[in-house]
């Protein structure tokens, strides 16, 4: 695995440069994971884009980098400490006297400095200041020892719509490539199965289309906005209705109304927007209307760290909304399961007529990952609709929309498309939807709705997944993006002779406790929690169900995802003590 860190100022072309690198590497057959760190500004402030790549499956993130591509002085100064000894620094800074201490450090740490005066050269070749990034890209590519055409074709992809600029971009990239002496490839490419490179948000948008979503309504909020952007792009091709609503209450109300009327609609937001949606979540519970909300997490409270990552809205997803009822909380871990779990979420929501909250995280939402194209599986659509609803004997005009059944799930149909009428009532109601305040009816309806959880848990949710050897020295339980870091850590630690296990939950609630019992039998007293929040929210839920369980908790709440080094340090500390 090698890691390139592109550093510079926010708005200085970091993202487009990073994406070109990521795509060009993917096209050469590498597995790629990216990470973007940027302040919540459009311009200014230092930012970085890292591209990790490997000739075998690669999941997690590391803090160190092998190559630092610096687009500005501030980027060089801020990120040099992350460059490994013996690594490469590619930069185009002109006034070398201004970075004497850094250059001295490079010499001390045997860092190879690859340098040209990129801004001057870019102007000379007919470009603007920003085109210097292309010279630096060419230099980076040669440093990596990779063939130029792969880079050229990605630059053409990215800037093809502006032919005049494209010509200069290509000239600059070619010049940068030739300015560096021939290198042997740092990591030769190998044959891999077909890979796709996409973000979690992109995968959710495509999964939603695959699953028959016809209407998407949302209010812009980082890090969920990408879903809106992608669906708007596909709206023409797939005849979608994509509505940027005036607020999140409107977005979720539009979705609920559309789902009642028989289509599949979807919304997504982040924590603050989700807060506004909770009243409607409660409406979905009593009217038993399917509703899927994608909750893209970032650190709070309030505005918090708007452009950083977190796993801190588990409690929000589990408990938001007044009253009691059934709901499902799922969590994605990467773009591959973002594509499949959005389909699962939409299916469960219709099969059981409950709200489903699909958690994602900024790290997954906005970052590019390679996934095996074949793992982006399409599931059949499950709607659980009936064409001929049963009717009440004493009121034959009304369908028994809330009929009491063993599972608690009642017949549902598309209103106006069946002979009997469909009354969806936010007041407590009888099986035909008529308002009631009768104690025994109210009690049985209330129970019926909650009871659905048993059926959901036993038949509908994706099961927990255990990764690692049986009887490990140490095991973790977690959800979301932690699966990625744990997969890398499991193989890295096994080289060191430490057996690490990880039990991953794609469904947080209702909780499947069987897998936890099995894990407990195998490594009692050696189970730890890994979560991207300060209070171990999912761990609290687990211990509510299973009793005291965790020997220790690896928690992180600084807006950054987990890095390999941190998890390894935690494990080594535990093993040695």
């Amino acid at each position: 695995m090698k890691r390139i860190l592109i550093a510079g100022e926010s708005g200085g072309g970091i993202v487009s440069t990073g994406e070109i690198v990521a795509r060009a590497l993917k096209n050469l057959g590498y597995w790629v994971v990216t990470e973007r760190e940027f302040p919540s500004l459009i311009q200014g402030g230092h930012a970085s884009y890292s591209v990790s790549f490997a000739d075998e499956p690669l999941y997690g993130l590391s803090q160190r980098c092998d190559i630092l591509l610096s687009l500005s002085k501030i980027g060089l100064q801020s990120f040099l400490p992350r460059l490994i000894d013996g690594g490469y620094l590619v930069h185009g800074y002109e006034r070398l006297s201004g970075i004497q201490p850094e250059l001295a450090e490079c010499e001390r740490r045997r860092i190879q400095v690859v340098h040209v005066r990129s801004r001057e050269k870019a102007m000379e070749l007919g470009g603007t200041e920003l085109v210097k990034n292309m010279i630096l890209l060419g230099m980076l590519w040669k440093t990596l020892g990779l063939p130029l055409p792969a880079l050229e074709s990605e630059i053409t992809q990215q800037f093809g719509s502006k032919p005049a600029l494209l010509a200069v971009d290509l000239t600059c990239a070619q010049w940068g490539y030739s300015a560096v002496q021939q290198q042997k490839s740092l990591l030769p490419p190998t044959q891999n199965p077909p890979l796709s490179l996409l973000t979690g948000n992109h995968a959710i948008a495509l999964g939603a289309i695959q699953a028959g979503v016809r209407l998407y309504a949302a209010y812009p909020m980082s890090p969920s906005t990408g879903i809106l952007k992608h669906l708007a792009e596909y709206a023409d091709a797939y005849n979608l209705i994509v509505k940027q609503a005036e607020d999140e209450i409107t977005a979720v109300s539009l979705v609920l109304g559309a789902n009642y009327a028989g289509t599949r609609a979807l919304t997504a937001t982040s924590g603050g927007g989700f807060d506004l949606m909770t009243e409607t979540l409660s409406l979905a519970m009593i009217t038993e209307t399917p509703l899927v909300i994608v909750l893209c997490q970032r650190p709070g409270p309030a505005t918090g760290l708007p452009t950083w990552t977190a796993q801190s809205d588990v409690h929000l997803a589990l408990y938001a909304g007044h009253g009691e009822g059934a709901r499902v909380v799922l969590s994605v871990s990467d773009p591959a399961d973002s594509f499949t779990l959005i389909q699962t979420a939409l299916n469960i929501s219709e099969q059981a007529q409950v709200p489903v909250i699909l958690l994602s995280e900024k790290q997954i939402c906005e970052h590019l990952y390679t996934v095996e194209t074949s793992s982006l599986e399409a599931f059949p659509i499950e709607r659980n609709l009936t064409a001929e609803p049963p009717v009440a004997a004493e009121k034959p005009t009304h369908g028994l929309r809330y009929q009491l059944t063993e599972s608690g799930i009642s017949p549902r149909w598309v209103p106006t498309k069946a002979p009997s009428v469909f009354c969806a009532n936010s007041d407590e109601h009888t099986p035909d939807g008529t308002l009631t305040e009768d104690a025994s009816v109210a009690s049985s309806m209330y129970k019926k709705r909650i009871q659905k959880l048993n059926h959901i848990r036993d038949h509908l949710i994706p099961p927990p997944e255990y990764i690692g050897p049986p009887e490990p020295n140490i095991a973790f339980i977690g959800f979301g993006s932690n699966k990625n870091i744990m997969q890398d850590v499991i193989s890295l630690m096994s080289i060191k002779g430490v057996q690490v296990g990880y039990l991953h939950f794609p469904c947080l609630s209702p909780l499947d406790t069987k897998a936890i019992s099995t894990l407990q039998e195998q490594c009692k007293g050696r189970i730890h929690l890994i979560e991207g929040n300060a209070t171990g929210q999912f761990g609290q839920l687990i211990e509510q169900h299973c009793g005291p369980l965790f020997r220790g908790k690896l928690l992180k709440w600084d807006g950054r995802p987990f890095y390999q080094e941190e998890v390894i340090e935690y494990i080594e500390h535990y093993i040695n003590s």
């Binding site: 023409d236 209450i249 409406l283």
Partner: protein
């Protein structure tokens, strides 16, 4: 003074379609409440338009009017306080060929729901919106709403409403709606016709209904309204397609405390209706409710 017969002339009672909307459920509104007549006018309008249960979905807010949701044999969706407009818009987007009627009171619409109202007018969703304007929060026992006249006696105040009211037509006309009508619960036949006009309108059809609430808005009984109501047909030099005329009317009614009734404004030239602008769905004859089928995105995935 323009005093009219306040007795209901029940024209359509024997119509089987009218009967099909009736239920055995006991209606829970106070006797003398304007909601009875609004409900009858609505059923009459649906029957006169030959709309069956398969043609219409009724959406309700929370308030006295919302208690109709299970007291009518129709497909209904009873939502949350203030939120009926986006809820009904969602229904309409899923079933564009179905007539969707949203009902809410003045309390919900001009407080919690005011943002939704503004954007529903702006989006020009093809809905009929029946605004039950009874000048108070009746279901919560008579607190002043944003439309309660200043000084009117209401609960939860020191006896009299301290603030000046909003005037619904003035506010909505400022948003350039495509349709505005005003009726009165004491004039059921006219109200029926206004609802029918609303059903025919392509776009957001706002029908304000002056609704008597003898329990909590005691000052505004039927005679109060009859004294203040003016028929729009009697206004000279008034063009219902003129935005300028409608703005002046809204301003005058607000200033004089009068209520012109009838279809007060329609814009037939400007096409702003949200569904109309869905270029993504041009030339499509299906409706979203019937389109929930798998779409193969694998060619896209292979290219990423």
């Amino acid at each position: 003074m323009n005093i009219k017969n306040t007795q209901h002339t029940v024209l359509y009672e024997k119509n089987t379609l009218v009967n099909s909307y009736e239920t055995q459920e006991k209606i829970t509104w106070c006797s003398g409440c304007g909601n009875h007549a609004i409900r009858n006018a609505l059923i009459d309008a649906l029957a006169l338009e030959n709309l069956t249960q398969q043609d219409v979905i009724l959406c309700y807010d929370i308030g006295c009017n919302g208690n109709e949701a299970d007291k009518i044999t129709a497909n209904t969706l009873h939502g949350l306080h203030g939120r009926v407009l986006p809820l009904a818009a969602g229904v309409k987007l899923a079933q564009p060929n179905t007539v969707v009627i949203a009902q809410a009171g003045d309390g919900a619409t001009f407080s919690e729901g005011i943002g939704h109202l503004v954007h529903a007018v702006r989006s020009d969703y093809p809905l009929v919106f029946l605004l039950h304007n009874n000048h108070n929060y009746a279901l919560t026992t008579g607190q002043p709403s944003a439309l309660t006249p200043c000084g009117a006696k209401r609960s939860a105040t020191d006896g009299h409403t301290p603030q000046r009211p909003l005037h619904p037509m003035q506010l909505i006309m400022s948003l350039e709606p495509s349709f505005y009508a005003r009726g009165f619960s004491g004039e059921r036949e006219q109200l029926t016709e206004l609802i029918r006009h609303g059903i025919h309108h392509h776009g957001f059809a706002c029908v304000e209904v002056l609704q008597s609430c003898p329990t909590y808005a005691k000052e505004a009984d039927n005679s109060y309204y009859w004294e203040r109501i003016r028929q729009i047909e009697n206004r000279t030099h008034y063009d219902i397609n003129s935005y300028a005329d409608a703005l002046i009317l809204a301003h005058e009614d607000a200033k004089n405390g009068t209520f012109h009734t009838g279809v007060l404004y329609t814009n037939t030239t400007q096409k702003s209706e949200y569904l109309h602008y869905q270029s993504t769905r041009k030339d499509l004859s299906t409706e979203p409710w019937a389109e929930v089928t798998p779409r193969d995105v694998s060619p896209l995935l292979a290219r990423l």
